[in-house]
Structure formats: structure tokens, C-alpha cells
Subunit: 142 residues, 2 copies
DNA sequence: CCCTCAATTTAGATGAGTTCTAAGAGTAGA
DNA sequence: TCTACTCTTAGAACTCATCTAAATTGAGGG
């Protein structure tokens, strides 16, 4: 398995949690599953409403936050910072970047390969561990 | 004047505020002056403590937030998002990027020229208005 | 099977950062 | 000097996130 949760072989949320050493409780499975199947970079609140309305499993706000932190620490999801005051989550944990459409607020992933040269542009005085690019502009197709 | 507040000719905070159409009250001048002379990317609270301890002017928390928003809207300063839950401010409003030293938390500016090629790396389906790169790693000197 | 016990979930309290409100202070122009 | 608007202020309120302590769950051992 690579670090792309959503590509290569199809893998269920439950299998992914087991593989990363996280006990797959119903709440965790449902949250991980939602994150794996969306491309929308939801906030904690987005996760709570999406999962609450679609599911038999009751879910408290605290559990959403607990689970998001657990999944983040286990490497199942990543935080995305695009705006002040809220954190978004992304189940694509491969090295990649983001593009924010300034008209719609839509956020799309940009593969690392597109900008991979950036890491070498800085001089000797910087030892670059990684970098994050946030593009903003307009998506010409949707 | 270019959009570098801190280079080219020496300019006082008061002159800068006037030039950007912001009435230079004592509180605003003092806050702008602090931001112009620091390289540390302070938070609102950092500004409040730095300015409060150094100055005859009394300063409330609300004024710090009001002023930071006023200066941001006037283009005198920029927000910097490097971590969840807090906003940092930078009086360097030229197009540039940031490098976070993961050992010390120190944040330094990276000039736009160093990474200027990035804007052209995306394909036709993106109209890039701008981009922000956040590097993280280790500063080898300083 | 059914205890036991540790892990998980939960509602609500709490906390951090920021914005809002409404009242007071300052100030430019009549 | 008065007026009228702008700015500042203290504290309330709001939003997002974490903490607390109690209830629930469920896996492993008898």
C-alpha cells in the first residue's frame, strides 16, 4: 500500500483503520469512510452534519474531534489550512497541494509532481523538510 | 513607492498610514511601527504585549484587533497562516513566502523571486491569481 | 456465557482566539 | 466652542476546539 488512501487497490475504511493500528469503532469507520469518499475538504462541523444525517450511528461533536485527531495521528488523514479560524481535513495523505477557487470556495488537490521542483529552489542555508503550496485563482472547468 | 513597506526609502509608520488612507491615530501608529520594525510574524497577542510594555499609549485588546483588521484592509500588513487557531501578521506586503524552522518555530520570509516559476506549473484548467508557499525545515545559520 | 476492565463515546463545561456592543473619549470642521 | 463623526475601550458574546467526568461498549479471561 502506498500513502494514497484512495487509489491503488480499493480498501475499506475499516481495513485502513486496522492497517494503521486504529480500532475500527462504528463512529470511526463512518467518519473515515465519509472522508475517503469526499473530495470536499470538510471541516469538523461538515463531517458532523454529513455523517449525522446519513447514518444510524449517533455521533457527538466530541467524538468527531476525537476521531479526527486520532485519524490524523495515525496518518489516515491530514489537516489542511486554507483560511483563519477553521481546520479542514483531507483523506488524501500523499504529498500534494491545494487550489482554492476564489469564486466558489471550492478546494481541489494538486499532485506533488506538478510543483516538485520547488524543494530545490532555496539556497544552502535552508534544509527543506517539506513545503505546502496554496494556490488561489479560478478553476476553468469544473 | 513599491509594495515593500520596509525597503526602498525609509518611511515612517505615520507616513505609511497617511499614504494608504488610514488616519494615523497614536494606537495605529504604534502598532504599525512595531510591525514594520519586527521580522517575527507576531500574533495579535504578541502585538498587544510588545506594544503595551514599551509604550505610554494605553491599548486595549479590541483596539489591537480593530487596528490589525484596518491595516490589513488598507494593504499595510498581511495575514500569515502557519498553524491552526491563530493568525500572524507581516508588514512585508510584497509577494513572498515563508519558511518555518521546525526546531525553533522561527518564521522567515522567502522572496517571491526564489520560487517565481511556480505560477506557471499548473495546466490550462487553472487560472492562477496567486500562491503561497509554506516551507518547513531547518535554518542552517542564524 | 458472563464478568471485568480498559478503551471509547458522550453531554456539557471550559478554554483560546476573535468579534461585537454600546458607551466614552478624541478631534476636525463649522 | 459646539457638533458630529470616528476611534477606543471594557467586557460580553461568539466560534471553534479541547477537556472532564460519567456512561457505554466490547474483548479477553474465567
Amino acid at each position: 500500500m502506498t500513502d494514497h488512501n484512495t487509489s491503488d487497490k480499493i480498501i475499506t475504511a475499516e481495513q485502513l483503520l486496522l492497517a494503521r493500528g486504529v480500532k475500527p469503532t462504528p463512529q470511526r469507520v463512518v467518519i473515515a469512510d465519509y472522508l475517503l469518499q469526499t473530495l470536499s475538504h470538510p471541516t469538523a462541523d461538515d463531517v458532523l452534519s454529513a455523517v449525522s444525517e446519513a447514518l444510524p450511528v449517533a455521533l457527538s461533536r466530541a467524538t468527531v474531534y476525537n476521531t479526527l485527531n486520532t485519524l490524523k495521528e495515525a496518518g489516515v488523514i491530514k489537516e489542511v489550512l486554507t483560511e483563519p479560524g477553521r481546520v479542514r481535513y483531507d483523506a488524501n495523505v500523499s504529498h500534494h497541494h491545494h487550489f482554492v477557487d476564489v469564486r466558489t470556495g471550492k478546494i481541489v488537490d494538486i499532485p506533488a509532481e506538478k510543483v516538485e521542483a520547488i524543494g530545490e529552489l532555496l539556497g544552502d542555508q535552508y534544509k527543506v523538510h517539506g513545503f505546502q503550496v496554496l494556490f488561489y485563482g479560478e478553476l476553468k472547468q469544473n
